[in-house]
């Protein structure tokens, strides 16, 4: 094993308050998942920034390719029936 190993890379996701989405905070290096969690805690929540942490090995993340953006993130303007405003509601109908 290399003497100067910097340990594996992990991505850190934090929830800022109960019920909130987990948001990417940054990365840490660690040998295993317990160390990754501990390092994430020390590095990213020194001021009560979070209520919960996920750590994920960096190489387990699958990211989309920017070249595919047109295909993946097409606004689908030809599918306006996905919008609630597409539909005509009868006069007098309430709370819909």
């Amino acid at each position: 094993m290399a003497v100067d190993s910097q340990l594996a890379s992990w991505e850190v996701f934090m929830q800022s308050k109960p019920g909130a989405n987990y948001i990417h905070a940054g990365g840490v290096h660690a040998a295993d998942k317990n160390m990754a969690l501990q390092n994430a805690r020390d590095t990213y929540t020194r001021r009560g920034e979070g209520t919960s942490i996920w750590v994920v090995p960096t190489d387990a993340i699958v990211a989309s390719n920017p070249d595919d953006n047109d295909m993946l993130f097409d606004p689908a303007n030809d599918k306006v029936y996905r919008m609630p405003t597409f539909y005509t509601m009868p006069e007098g109908a309430k709370a819909i």
């Binding site: 003497v3 190993s5 910097q6 340990l7 940054g26 040998a31 295993d32 160390m35 001021r47 920017p66």
Partner: protein
């Protein structure tokens, strides 16, 4: 030949696409195509920034065991821990550009990568701890606030996080200076002496004047850099002079005067010979800073080895279950 022309055409097309994106104000993300020069510039700047955070722990760390009270010691420890954290945010962000942390550390140790020149000066007295927090962190904040809008997404996000933590650093330093200026004559002199030694190196932190800055052309065009060295330096001077006046510290610059027409201070000439002398390795602490970093890095190798060995042992156990 035809093939070469084709690749050149593709390259130009990609550059055009990239620059249009920058022009629109879109952030660049790790998987986006980017010019080699953009990637190289960011790796150099971000690793230098990360190394500065880490090396910057040394002059202050020198005072942890000698802090004048338990309160002061707790504050200093928390401040230095933050700086270590800033280094880690920035190493992680730089890694998204395809350089490993081991490579960055190797470049620091070989001298290929630099760190901020300011940390080659010693922290001689307790007042220096105040001056570092107030002036050095103060100057760093001006630069980092501007970098929050830098074009590379991971760098920009790291800056936002860092800026949230920095204002405590500057305040704790200014509080130390304030306390000393309200103290005995000896304490006031000690504070003024620290001010005299840290003022000019703090101004140098913003780098050479715009007229001599070798790296700024592409960095400005590609929105890595959002404000010029001189603009940032001016911002720092204008807010710091007022703070010095409030507590009775003198700015060690006889040419400093308010310029009504520009709404800011004019300052005396910066001694760039001193700057280049220190940056080329002849400052008071260059050798000490580097040697200390190498020593601690090497002495910590067994911890990383042990952590890897423990992981492998745990994995084997799982297989045999």
């Amino acid at each position: 030949m035809e093939l070469l022309e084709k690749t050149e055409e593709v390259r130009r097309e990609l550059l055009k696409h990239f620059e249009e994106k920058i022009e629109r104000g879109d952030a660049i993300e790790p998987r986006d195509k980017m010019p080699d020069a953009y990637r190289k510039h960011l790796i150099r700047q971000m690793s230098q920034h990360a190394h500065s955070e880490v090396i910057g722990m040394q002059p202050e760390g020198n005072w942890i065991t000698r802090a004048p009270s338990l309160r002061a010691k707790q504050i200093l420890l928390a401040k230095i821990q933050d700086e270590g954290g800033h280094g880690l945010y920035l190493y992680s962000a730089a890694e998204t550009l395809g350089i490993s942390r081991s490579e960055m550390i190797a470049q620091l140790h070989s001298g290929k990568a630099k760190y901020s020149n300011i940390f080659n000066y010693p922290a001689l007295t307790w007042a220096d701890v105040g001056a570092i927090g107030w002036l050095v962190d103060g100057a760093a904040i001006v630069n980092q606030v501007s970098l929050q809008r830098t074009s590379y997404g991971p760098y920009s996000r790291a800056m936002v996080r860092i800026c949230k933590e920095e204002s405590f650093h500057q305040r704790q330093g200014y509080e130390i200076m304030t306390t000393m200026m309200r103290g005995t004559k000896d304490q006031q002199e000690m504070a003024q002496d620290a001010m005299n030694r840290w003022w000019w190196p703090s101004l140098m932190m913003f780098g050479p004047h715009d007229s001599e800055s070798p790296h700024s052309g592409d960095a400005v065009k590609w929105k890595i850099k959002r404000h010029s060295n001189d603009e940032l330096r001016q911002k720092f001077i204008d807010k710091t002079v007022q703070q010095a006046q409030v507590i009775g510290l003198k700015i060690p610059d006889t040419d400093l005067k308010w310029n009504e027409s520009k709404g800011g201070y004019d300052h005396g000439a910066i001694d760039w010979n001193e700057f280049y002398r220190v940056i080329s390795g002849n400052g008071p602490c260059n050798k000490q800073r580097m040697e200390h970093h190498k020593k601690v890095h090497n002495e910590g190798a067994w911890v990383r080895e042990a952590a890897e060995a423990y992981r492998m042992k745990q994995e084997k156990k799982l297989i045999h279950l």
